[in-house]
Amino acid sequence: MSEPALALENLEVHYAGVPAVRGIDLEVGEGEIVGLVGPNGAGKSSTLHAVMGVVPPAVGDIRVRGRSLRGFSPERVARLGVALVPEGRHIYSSLTVAENLRLGFAARRSNDGLAADVAWVESLFPVVRDFARRNAGALSGGQQQQLAIARALVARPDVLLLDEPSLGLAPTVVETLFATLAGIRERGVSILLVEQRAQMTIAFADRTHVIANGRLRLTLGPGDAGDTDKLTAAYLS
């Protein structure tokens, strides 16, 4: 049996003893896109931070291809092939677009194929090439989001975590973004997609978990898109 690209096992995250994530089991298989939606404060970002080693899991485990990430620093997790596009982008506004992209190289395990990866990312997001010398702070919000995803992709990750990438984007742009994610998956990247746009995510992802109050309440497939009653109930639970 092949190990899933990413597995969370009974994950709990606490802040100063107060639980924010209360026991989550979740798997992302190789080349899968799994959605995670839920209301504000549900614990979505906390879950991703636990995977990245930004916050330690209080209980439970996180595995990448079967390997436990317990006690790993963020840089170590990144170098194992997990990349996070953080909520709010966290672009380095005083560095140039090209420098931001170069920071993404830090997690690469090998520089083989670097030029090809950069070319691929530039074809997905031409903005990183066209505005390479510009300060990243001068980009529009949507362009910064593209840069944040591009920066994660040049690390050549096996697992891509996205925290609300559609935040602040116009609906048509979101559709383009999702289409791009589908293209990224075609390259064998496994994706865990945290989103506020529940309906779009459910329709798009292979399956989508609904998280509320730190627990998974419901799992929906693309066929369930439009089933607002179930979703509303899960959000309110």
């Binding site: 840089e75 990144a78 690390a155």
Partner: protein, 297 residues
């Protein structure tokens, strides 16, 4: 004393304090930590020079650099890294740097005595050359040129290399840098190494004009540089360097132009201005940084 000499003195003292300010600013940038024990690195370098007086100057200087860099790394490894790992608060870290400062001073006192040692390395640079009837000591020229070269080299390291890019990113947003795979220990280690090299350079240059080495020698240097750093602002290394330069320049000017009865008040004025700045901007000392809410590692 005339204006020409005063300006030459002031420029070289400015260069010296610019180096100290950058050394402190670099570590502050990545760790959000003001290392009050920075001056003790300079003192350590001065002691190395005092005890290698009989050696050829290049060898003594090399030894000085090696020892100071090693001590800087020891400071980071033994004191600051464990605290950082434990998640110590910024205040606790700051107090720790005081503790390290006093500890090192006590060690110097026990090991080398209170009477002081004399450095003779590069003493020949105290001889003067004459421009337009103004006598200028060689060390002033050497200090200014060395200071400029080291600042430019530091700038090149930060702006032209990958690890330099990582340091700049870490200084802006350390958590995101780590998420991207930037190794925290490397970036911090590098900033301590560079800070150590700069401190060693200050040891060499400073002791030519001030050859007496005592355990507390580094304290006023640190505090004066911090004044400059406060004035200039730590958000950019260049502003810290300029602040350091300004304080050194002003100090050098007044030190030369005022009579000796007047200069005894100079440190008091400088220290007083620190208190004033702290009072006027209690939270906002490094306001641009706090406004951006950058995490310490």
């Amino acid at each position: 004393m005339n204006w020409g000499q005063a300006i030459a003195d002031a420029i070289s003292l400015g260069a010296l304090y610019g180096l100290v300010a950058v050394g402190i600013g670099l570590v502050f940038g990545v760790m959000r930590l003001i290392n009050f024990a920075y001056g003790e690195l300079i003192t350590a370098g001065a002691y190395v020079l005092a005890y290698t007086g009989g050696w050829p100057a290049p060898l003594a200087i090399l030894m000085c650099v090696a020892a100071v860099v090693a001590l800087a790394l020891v400071q980071e490894r033994v004191a600051f890294r464990p605290l950082r790992r434990m998640g110590a608060s910024p205040a606790a870290m700051l107090v720790a740097t005081f503790a390290v400062s006093f500890l090192l001073q006590a060690i110097y006192l026990l090991a080398f005595g209170s009477r002081g040692q004399i450095v003779g390395t590069l003493g020949q640079l105290n001889s003067a050359f004459t421009v337009d009837g103004v006598d200028i000591r060689w060390i002033l020229l050497v200090t200014t040129v060395t200071g400029a070269i080291l600042l430019l080299a530091t700038g090149a390291l930060l702006n032209r290399t990958t690890i330099g890019l990582h340091v700049r990113a870490a200084a802006q947003d350390f958590r995101t840098a780590r998420i991207l795979g930037v190794r925290a220990n490397r970036v911090i280690g590098l900033s301590f190494v560079v800070a150590g090299v700069l401190a060693a350079a200050v040891s060499v240059l400073y002791t030519v004009s001030n050859p007496l080495v005592q355990p507390q020698m580094g304290v006023p240097i640190t505090i004066f540089a911090l004044v400059g750093v406060v004035v200039g602002g730590l958000d950019r290394l260049w502003s810290a360097a300029l602040g350091g330069f300004a304080v050194g320049f002003v100090y050098g000017m007044f030190g030369d132009l005022l009579s000796s009865q007047q200069t005894v008040y100079l440190p008091a004025v400088v220290y007083g201005s620190v208190i004033l700045v702290l009072l006027l901007r209690p939270a906002g000392l490094f306001a641009p940084l706090h406004a951006r809410q950058v995490e310490r590692v």
